[in-house]
Structures are given as structure tokens and as C-alpha cells.
Amino acid sequence: MIFLNLPRFETMDHSLLPENPDGAESALEVPSVHILKNQKDQTTWIPCPSCEAPCRDRVLSKGTELRCRRCGARVKIARGEYSLQPALAFSTAALFAAILANLNPILTFDVVGDTQSGWIITGVESLNGQGYWPLALLVFFASILAPLLYLSAMWYASAACFLRVPLPFARTALQWVEMMEPWNLVPVYAIATVVSVVKLRMLGNVEWQSGARWVLGMAFFSLLAANAFDCKLVGEKLTSLEAGRK
């Protein structure tokens, strides 16, 4: 057990209990309904997801959370039965927006009557055409492939939880979500589009096209979805679904 290497065993919920410098055992003395079975031999310890310090597990009432005493990270949060529905809804919306953002031109640029429209993929193509294929690859991955993978994996995993069916590869999808999370750069892309319009306005006529709206929508909904999606909770649900089937 990795826990044995760590010197101190203490945790408490800052939202419920007053800060007590005396340490761990104070949590046991508080007569609270939130603590389940406080005999010493029955307490379970869960590792903090951030620093791996053992934290005393207990049943949380709705809306409260368990925070790590050592590093302050959130260990566990009580969510309602339907807490994964927003994630499914937002990721569906974001996926639709993503498809439309890729199919419609983002902006048109016009210099003395000569017009050019730009899709997301056009930038990749022209960077590749100029010989900068590493950049083209990076832009392709970060602005098209990664967001699509991230959103569809999230959609699939939350659909499995929503339908209460252990869909095949749902766990793989969950791993993809975790892997792709730092690569969900659509909000950054949206900012870059705004800046580029400002720059191009100095040179010629720039006009927003419908794709820009979808890029913004995709950024907005993917942020909401990322906020609503809880990897740990989905993992637990999938485990219980898989156990239910056997």
C-alpha cells in the first residue's frame, strides 16, 4: 500500500467543520450526521487524486465536498443522481457545433474585389502547402482532431451512464477524455479568429461567416461540458454498470 509511506493521516471537510489546528481526530468527535460509522476500524481511506495523501472517506450530503487536508484539492463531491445529464446535453450540442464549424467557412477576406473564404481546414492546407507540415499537423490535431475525439468520447461515455447500459469501449472512451483534455483548444482557436479578423481589417474587407458562430458555440459548449463531466464519477458508474451485468 502506498499509504504506508506517508506520514500523516488527516482529512476533514472545510465546508462543514471549523478549522481545527489540533489535527485529524477532531473530525471524529464532531457529532455530525455526515460521518458514517466512526469506529476507528471501519473508516476507509481514499487517496487524494492530486497528491495521493490518504483522506478519510465518508458519506457526503448533497452539495458538499471532501477536500484534501494536505494540498487542498477536491477529493470527492456529492453530486445528484442526474448530474451526468448536463454533460451529455452539452457534449451533444458541442459536437453539433463542431461539425457545423468545420463545414462552414469562418470568414471571407476581400482585397480589391478578390475574395477568399477560410475554413478551419484551409489554414492547415495552406501551411502544408508552404512546406510547414509540422505546423499544419499541429493545427490539424489541436483544432480539428482533438476536439472531435474529446467531445465524441465524452458523449459516448456519458451516454453509457445515461442509458445505464455498459456500452462496449465506454471505458476506453473515458481514457480518451482524460488524455485529450489538455488538447481541447477550441476556446483558444476562437480567440485567434477574433484577433485575425482585427489584423485583416487593416488590410482589406473581412466578413464573418456562419462558421465563426459555430466555432464560438463549440468553444462555449465544450467548456460547459468539460465542467459538467466528472471523470471519476463516470468511472464509478461504469464499474457499477459492468458489475450489474455480470
Binding site: I2, N5, S50, C51, E52, A53, R70, C71, G72, A73, I106, L107, T108, F109, V111, V112, D114, Q116, S117, G118, W119, I120, T122, G123, V124, E125, S126, L127, Q130, Y132, P134, L135, L138, V139, A142, S143, P182, W183, L185, V188, Y189, I191, A192, T193, V194, V195, S196, V198, K199, L200, M202, L203, G204, V206
Partner: protein, 168 residues
């Protein structure tokens, strides 16, 4: 995929040092050239910011300045500090918070790469207006990738490892 903790620390350190070295050419070399009706204008990252500022858009210039010059540097500096103190039992809570901040804001320096991509997408009007990438952009992308990977490889839990653990 499992990487041992020692390798994680070493990889992160190597990436930060690489990033710091590449940061210099990424700011000196021009990132792109914009040519409008015959006049060719090479632009460095800072030059692009100045141009935005001069045309009366201090807010957007500020955003780009922060995202493309300050954030990459601060990120590398913060990661350098975090990694320098690795294994020492000081400032552990601060380092954890800082690492989380670096992981969240880190991706914002990609704004310049995307900007180049959007500009290159519509800047293909031949002699009238064209936008072309220049080697500085490659260095810039490399800096961004180095700091992104370094921040992801070094996990917050490693900050709290103050002594070597035999069986991890």
C-alpha cells in the same frame, strides 16, 4: 502506458530546458511575412503585438502580448522553479497550486499558432495579399509543445514525494 517517476521528473526537466533555449529564437525570428500589394513585411511575435497596439487596439494587443510572450515565459519559469524544488519539503502547497494554474493557462499560448493558421487560410490572394509562415513559427510551436508536455508529464503527486520510495 506507465512511465516511472524518475523518468517523469527527468523528462520534464529536459523539456523545460529545451523550451527555454528555443524561447530565444522564437522571439527573434519572424513568425510570418505578410505581403500586401507588393510590400513584404516580416513580423516577429512582438512586432505583431506592436502593430496591433499602433492601430489603436490596446486591448487585443494586450491579450496577444500576454498569451504569446508573457505566458510562455512565465510558464517555463514556473515549471523551472517547481522542478528545481522537486524532492525538497518546501512550498509544496504553493507548488501544487502553481502547477495547476500552469496546466490550465498553458494552452493559451497556442493562440499565435492558430492565428497564423487563420491568416494563412485567407491570405492566399497572390500578389494582392499573402501570408506566409516563417521558421520562427516552428520554434514558437516547439516552445509551446515543450511547456505543454512538461506540465502534463510532471504530476502534482510528485511534488509531495519528499523521499525516494522503493516500491512505487
Amino acid at each position: 502506458m506507465s512511465i516511472s517517476d524518475t523518468i517523469r521528473v527527468e523528462l520534464a526537466r529536459a523539456l523545460v530546458v529545451t523550451g527555454i533555449i528555443l524561447y530565444i529564437p522564437s522571439n527573434i525570428l519572424p513568425v510570418m511575412t505578410m505581403s500586401i500589394v507588393g510590400t513584404v513585411e516580416p513580423l516577429t511575435v512582438l512586432g505583431g503585438v506592436e502593430e496591433l497596439y499602433d492601430s489603436g487596439l490596446p486591448l487585443i494587443a494586450g491579450v496577444v502580448f500576454l498569451a504569446s510572450i508573457v505566458v510562455p515565459f512565465l510558464k517555463l519559469a514556473c515549471l523551472g522553479w517547481i522542478l528545481f524544488l522537486h524532492g525538497k519539503p518546501v512550498n509544496m502547497k504553493e507548488r501544487t497550486t502553481l502547477l495547476k494554474i500552469v496546466q490550465t493557462i498553458g494552452s493559451w499560448s497556442m493562440v499565435d499558432i492558430f492565428l497564423l493558421s487563420v491568416l494563412a487560410a485567407v491570405g492566399q490572394l497572390g500578389a494582392l495579399a499573402s501570408v506566409e509562415a516563417r521558421p520562427g513559427a516552428l520554434f514558437f510551436a516547439a516552445v509551446v509543445l515543450c511547456s505543454l508536455f512538461a506540465a502534463e508529464i510532471y504530476k502534482p503527486r510528485l511534488i509531495w514525494r519528499t523521499k525516494p520510495i522503493s516500491a512505487a
